[in-house]
């Protein structure tokens, strides 16, 4: 019995049990991670998970059931249970459910991969982390940490409308960090970001990071931060490095444009959105430099795929065009509720999870400047980079972010290092203040985006480059 056979059996059983639509995903995911601390391997974990999840629509109510068994009997039982759960949902019914059209396709897709990350010998990968963390420790950090993670996911999707799609997506990445411990506080520096940079690529991404070459710098910076002056408190011009801007996009744009949040479907947990669909196409989200795309087609970016987990093909769309809000992340049912004609952004974290609206690659189109030009054009400000903490309200408006490191900018030059840099603001006011944007774009990968109940961890990508924001409140502290 093939994976497609199991998925088809589950779908058919759901239909036989009364569903008017059903789809099923068989997923086989292999995961490997290794971490090192102070020159020793700390943990090596390898996981292999195989199972099937089936979703049934009975009337206008959904049900979902997942099992770790691909036998015909188990698949059929899962389909029946999904339909039964959907019937129970009808005890507290909602409005009619429609699905925007999605052409049934038979297709196969795989992410590009030069060096199979699971094929690289463990000893090679371990040696890299040991060497890098030993260097970090040797250069003065109290705690030197290194990590890589690899996901190799094969999935088979079948729907009652005729979709039959298989995909193989390989993702990996890694990074190093240095923590120095002082009296009453710690300082951390990471490269290239905390817990690393990730993409839908092979091991070539980790090789390209050249972790050992950056070990000394982050160790020395973490030590120097312990005695650096505090980031001043007040309003100033803020320059963000690309890694921090990626996080800013993720939290204050990516989540805000999720259609399930806008419709209230996440109200009790992740929250809603400040965006009102009545303003789609007219709302000014940011300055004219702000053009943000939803693009799951970017080669190597962490949010890339061939088809989403409802069978919709990867398509590039604008979310914000020259500062105006024009698009959302949607699924087939949420799009129908909103009167839109596209889904394409639904994904499930493994076979045991319900597919839901998730970010793909949500990022900024490049601007006309460079970081050095932005610094040179700034008379008085602060440059911050590499995220250390992030917090935003349930409408995705009020945020406060902390970075690992800051620098004073005076008369167009980078000055003293600053410790504990933080900044706070309101999303659209912040984005409207962006007046300079670099073209030095990197597609940063975020492998830890939490959403949903039961919890799901999403992998998202965020092309971003350094940018300047005017009149921002910085230096918030306890």
């Amino acid at each position: 019995m093939t994976e497609f056979d199991a998925a088809s059996a589950a779908v058919q059983a759901a239909l036989d049990a009364g569903a008017r639509y059903a789809d099923a995903r068989v997923m086989h995911r292999r995961y490997e991670s290794m971490s090192a601390r102070n020159g020793d391997i700390e943990e090596l974990t390898q996981d292999e998970s195989v199972g099937l999840g089936v979703r049934a629509l009975v009337g206008s109510s959904w049900g979902f059931h997942a099992v770790p068994d691909l036998s015909d009997a188990a698949a059929r039982d899962a389909g029946r249970r999904a339909a039964r759960t959907a019937a129970a949902s009808a005890r507290v019914p909602g409005p009619p459910v429609d699905l925007v059209p999605s052409d049934p396709v038979t297709a196969s897709w795989a992410s590009a991969c030069e060096v199979d990350p699971l094929g690289v010998p463990l000893s090679t990968k371990g040696d890299l982390l040991v060497e890098a963390t030993k260097l970090v420790a040797d250069h003065g950090a109290d705690v030197a940490e290194g990590l890589y993670q690899i996901w190799d996911t094969a999935k088979w999707f079948v729907s009652s409308e005729g979709h039959r799609i298989d995909q193989r997506i390989r993702e990996c990445g890694g990074g190093i960090s240095a923590t120095s411990i002082g009296d009453g506080e710690t300082q951390r520096r990471s490269y290239p970001s905390y817990r690393g940079q990730y993409g839908t690529t092979g091991w070539e991404l980790v090789d390209s990071l050249d972790l050992t070459a950056h070990a000394a710098q982050i160790a020395e910076e973490s030590r120097a931060l312990l005695t650096a002056p505090l980031c001043p408190a007040g309003e100033t011009d803020l320059i963000l490095g690309g890694e921090q801007l990626a996080l800013q996009i993720h939290e204050s744009v990516g989540h805000a444009i999720e259609l399930d949040r806008i419709l209230g479907w996440e109200a009790a947990f992740a929250g809603t959105s400040w965006l009102d669909l009545a303003q789609l196409g007219s709302l000014r989200y940011g300055s004219e430099l702000m053009t943000i795309t939803i693009d799951p087609t970017i080669p190597g970016a962490l949010g890339s795929f061939g088809y989403d987990d409802e069978g919709s093909p990867a398509v590039t769309r604008d979310a914000v065009r020259e500062g105006r809000w024009v698009g959302v992340l949607a699924g087939r049912d949420s799009a129908a509720v909103a009167g839109l004609d596209y889904g394409g952004s639904v994904r499930a974290d493994g076979w045991a999870r319900l597919p839901m609206v998730r970010m793909t690659n949500v990022g900024l189109e490049p601007g006309p400047h460079t970081l050095e030009e932005i610094i040179a054009a700034t008379d008085d400000g602060v440059l911050m980079d590499v995220n250390r903490s992030w917090s935003i309200d349930d409408k995705r408006l009020n945020f406060q972010f902390g970075c690992e490191i800051g620098w004073e900018i005076k008369k167009g030059r980078r000055g003293r290092m600053l410790r504990n840099p933080t900044y706070t603001g309101i999303g659209p006011i912040f984005w409207r203040s962006m007046d300079m944007l670099s073209h030095e774009t990197v597609a940063w990968g975020t492998p830890n985006c939490g959403k949903g109940q039961p919890g799901q961890v999403g992998h998202t990508g965020h092309p971003a480059a350094p940018a300047r924001f005017r009149g921002i409140r910085v230096g918030v502290r306890a």
Binding site: Q46, H65, A88, G94, P95, T179, I181, V476
Partner: protein, 475 residues
């Protein structure tokens, strides 16, 4: 179908056969049935169930350690798991800090499992959602009802084995009106102990009381934190403070033997107090661990590795991935006041002693006698229902930023004066509960569910002298 203990034994035998008699191994097999019925806009929009099995194996061979896990429990699947984990161990660098296996030891029986909860049907969860929505009285309602069963067995090559089962039910919902939300949240050992109507009425009462909020200037305010808000403090204390790895690395504020908290603060991790398995993933028996006793820090959570590092013994807090994240408490209780006056409700109808919690006329911000008693003593301060999106600015001092959510009210002269818009705060959690900082403690702890079943945070309401609000949510 093989039992979890059978499967664990099979894996140990496979390691012995494929890895040789010197290979050390420990294995945990867990079957889980988790179902969650989710509602929003007052209807069920997501309704899921998962039947899963997981095998987690850790081997130590020739001085090297590796871990593997999988969901395939056929003979071929188990063999593949053992082979790849042994292969991984051979390729790993030496592990000189390997703490050895847990020796045979008696394991306590866990809390009794309510079979009706373990095998609850979708209709039973849906019925509680229906009751919640109905009790919200026309307000928009959103949230979930969850049931979970976990059956787990442990075995190692040192001859130790253990098994246990646990069930949990939880309900978490909000009611919404005019941009104001009210929340009701409860975890229990039995689904029968969750009354959707009571919870829905509580959420609706608080939402109505939260309508038309005014914006107050940021600054330091005295606060009464309701149990949902206190749960966030407990969670951050666990992750960053009482985490044995962070303690060993000197990244924790915890200093055993030092009076770091107000004398009314006693914190106990009590996995067997509800929905907890009686052993951890290293097979160490679990039981209550007093982390803070009357204000003095007494212990942090350890697994075998961190315990060996600091010369302590494991407290039964090993978790998957613990070498990276560290061992931490997952069932933390802030002990209630042994005796505290229960005030007559000062701000509206519905007074009625303990009956207040479960019924009566719920129409105000204060819906239980504990909170009422604490609010009565506040000359000017804020009543806070819930905290949201808290993140740590510095792990050692445990400075945290986040926002209030699901209702904030100004309290003046012991009476709730009016609803207030949400605040952002930036506060050092240990300092907020430091000596002299706790002005009152409720006597009725309420168990708050975590995002993961089996994890909970239990606390009464808490009155604190000062909380640092650094901005309004609108700017």
């Amino acid at each position: 179908m093989s039992t979890e203990l059978d499967l664990a034994g099979e894996v140990i035998e496979l390691v012995r056969r494929l890895g040789g008699p010197a290979a050390q191994a420990e294995v945990v097999v867990t079957r889980a049935d988790v179902a969650l019925t989710r509602f929003a806009n007052s209807f069920i929009h997501q309704n899921v169930a998962e039947s899963g099995v997981g095998v987690r194996l850790r081997v130590h061979a020739d001085g090297r350690t590796a871990a593997g896990s999988g969901s395939v429990v056929t003979p071929d699947g188990l063999t593949a798991l053992v082979e790849r984990t042994l292969a991984a161990a051979r390729l790993c660098p030496p592990d000189p800090a390997w703490p050895g296996l847990t020796p045979p030891a008696p394991t306590p029986s866990g809390p009794p499992v309510d079979e009706a909860t373990a095998y609850a049907e979708p209709d039973e969860r849906a019925e509680r959602v229906r009751a919640f929505v109905a009790a919200a009285g026309g307000l928009e309602a959103a949230g979930y009802c969850r049931t979970a069963l976990r059956s787990s067995a442990f075995a190692n090559s040192a001859g130790h084995s253990a098994q246990g089962r646990t069930a949990e039910a939880a309900m978490d919902g909000i009611a919404r009106t005019s941009g104001a939300d009210g929340v009701a949240r409860l975890a229990a050992d039995r689904l029968a102990d969750l009354d959707g109507a009571v919870l829905g009425a509580r959420a609706a009462a608080k939402a109505r009381a939260a309508a038309d909020p005014v914006e107050l200037p940021p600054g330091r305010y005295e606060v009464v934190l309701e149990p949902a808000a206190v749960a966030d403090l407990l969670q951050n204390f666990s992750f960053y403070g009482f985490n044995g790895k962070r303690y060993a690395e000197r990244q924790s504020f915890a200093e055993p033997g030092v009076a770091q908290f107000d004398p009314v603060v006693t914190l106990v991790d009590d996995p067997l107090g509800g929905s907890g398995l009686p052993f951890d993933v290293e097979g160490t028996p679990r039981g209550p661990v007093t982390l803070v006793d009357a204000g003095t820090t007494r212990a942090v959570a350890h697994d075998r590795r961190t315990a060996a590092e600091v010369g302590a013994v494991s407290t039964g807090h090993a978790v998957p991935g613990g070498a990276t994240w560290g061992p931490m408490p997952h069932n933390l209780r802030l002990s209630p006041a042994p005796e505290a006056p229960v005030a007559v409700r000062p701000d509206g109808p519905g007074a009625g002693g303990s009956e207040w919690v479960g019924g009566g006329d719920l129409s105000g911000a204060v819906v239980d006698p504990d909170t009422a008693a604490l609010v009565t003593g506040v000359r000017r301060g804020l009543l806070v229902s819930d905290l949201w999106y808290t993140r740590v600015l510095d792990p050692k001092s445990l400075v945290v930023t986040g926002l209030t959510r699901n209702g904030v009210w100004l309290v003046e002269d012991g009476v709730v004066a009016r609803a207030v818009r949400d605040f952002r705060f930036t506060e050092a959690y240990p300092r907020a509960l430091g000596p002299g900082a706790v002005l009152g403690l409720g006597r009725r702890p309420v168990r708050q569910p975590d995002r993961v079943d089996g994890v909970w945070w239990e606390a009464p309401a808490l009155r604190l002298a000062s909380w640092n609000f650094t901005g309004g949510a609108s700017g």
